[in-house]
Homo-oligomer: 228 residues x 2
DNA sequence: TTCTTGTCACCTAGGTGTTAATAT
DNA sequence: ATATTAACACCTAGGTGACAAGAA
């Protein structure tokens, strides 16, 4: 079984409609997809990987509405049918293959995974269409030592899906609240914080920033079960 | 077979008497120990590791002599018998185990290896006695798939020694020329360069800095054979 | 109007020798 | 006198969103 780490933060983003930046050079995800794994055979080899499947066959566009955040408090509209599918790449966790014991003894982090909108990317990054919705998937492959292991491919393969990690791929943020939550929670964006340069999120006081309440509430985030 | 990378730089340091800093927290080596590997079975698994053996059973001390570099152009004197041996730790290359094909397709770099003088170190760093001379060794272990693989430990094990990588462990540099060569060649020490902030060593003109001539001369460093 | 691209200041994270203070 | 330690300024390396300019 698999537990999603930082579930509270994922939930907070998901509630607003998570957006992930895609760039030509490749951009990491934030939050980072991280899991705790249980129940592996400690001595057996496993490959861990991720891929991304379209949530629907739609292309989205935004509508800028005047409001508190001029030109930024915008809403998503369906713009038509999805663009042709991108190359369905997968990202192997760089430690693959490794023993079950190795995978289970610490959080597995996919922080090397990068998203790009460059169809000709040759860095092995995940290629996505901007303005489309995606569902990350996590796969565990048992490395079968048997010679005819191909026959057992089905049973040596397990997929885990966390719906709260769905997101829209964008080249620039469309929802200003998403931007603010990224700035508030991603250490690398600390330069854009204008509130107290306090040690958020570590000592964040519940209620101080309504938007981030869910994240603030859970000091010991409870991981969610995966749809398997 | 194995080729030492940056042999020319190693030679230059070795000619002056290489020194490596050891700290409580652990310090990387410079130059970094890097090798190119040939002749592995591409499909077989190998473990790569390093250890460090005393070159002699002596403890050294320095004698400060007045000169061009006051209190720094010093010479090594034998100070007596070696201190009790440190725990003989080994450093496994973090990618171990991996297929021969993986190891051979690029330079293998031991840049995660750190040296410490802390006998109680619990970070898995290599523990060395300061003011003692050491010989780095590089080991290749073939992961034998046979059940009784222990019996073949001898033949599944190969050790490579490059004498030009010998060094004295120190807590502070003793030879000012070593300091200068480190500053000149280690990118992380660029802040201490006072000569032209030019792109040394890339475009270094042979002869301009006599001390670094050997390194400057070889644009395509020839690797040295290992004593095996 | 909407979306994409490239550059930038500002961060995180961590590898350098220097230096002054301390230990032996 | 010699050796070690810890704090420090200054780097490398690379992850942020802002912003202005360009493209569709």
């Amino acid at each position: 079984s698999v537990q999603l780490e930082m579930k509270a933060l994922w939930d907070e983003f998901n509630q607003l409609g998570t957006e992930m930046i895609v760039t030509k050079a490749g951009r990491r995800m934030f939050p980072t997809f991280q899991v705790k794994i249980f129940g592996m055979d400690p001595m057996a080899d496993y490959m861990l990987l991720m891929d991304f499947v379209p949530v629907d066959d739609k292309r989205y566009r935004v509508h800028s509405a005047p409001g508190r955040y001029a030109f930024h408090s915008s809403s998503w509209l369906v713009a038509g049918k999805a663009d042709p599918a991108t190359p369905g790449r997968v990202h192997y966790h760089p430690d693959s293959p490794a023993k079950g014991a190795q995978w289970m003894k610490q959080i597995v982090s996919f922080d090397k995974l990068k998203l790009t909108n460059n169809l000709l990317d040759d860095n092995g990054h995940i290629i996505l269409n901007s303005m489309h919705r995606y569902q990350p998937r996590f796969h565990v492959v048992y490395v079968d030592p048997r010679k005819d292991s191909e026959k057992y491919a089905e049973e040596n393969f397990k997929t885990f899906v966390f719906e709260e990690t769905r997101f829209t791929a964008v080249t620039a943020y469309q929802n200003h609240r998403i931007t603010q939550l990224k700035i508030a929670s991603n250490p690398f964006a600390k330069g854009f914080r204008d509130c107290d340069p306090e040690d958020w999120p570590r000592n964040h006081r519940p209620g101080a920033l309504p938007l981030m309440s869910a994240f603030a509430r859970s000091r010991n985030p409870v991981s969610s079960p995966a749809h398997q």
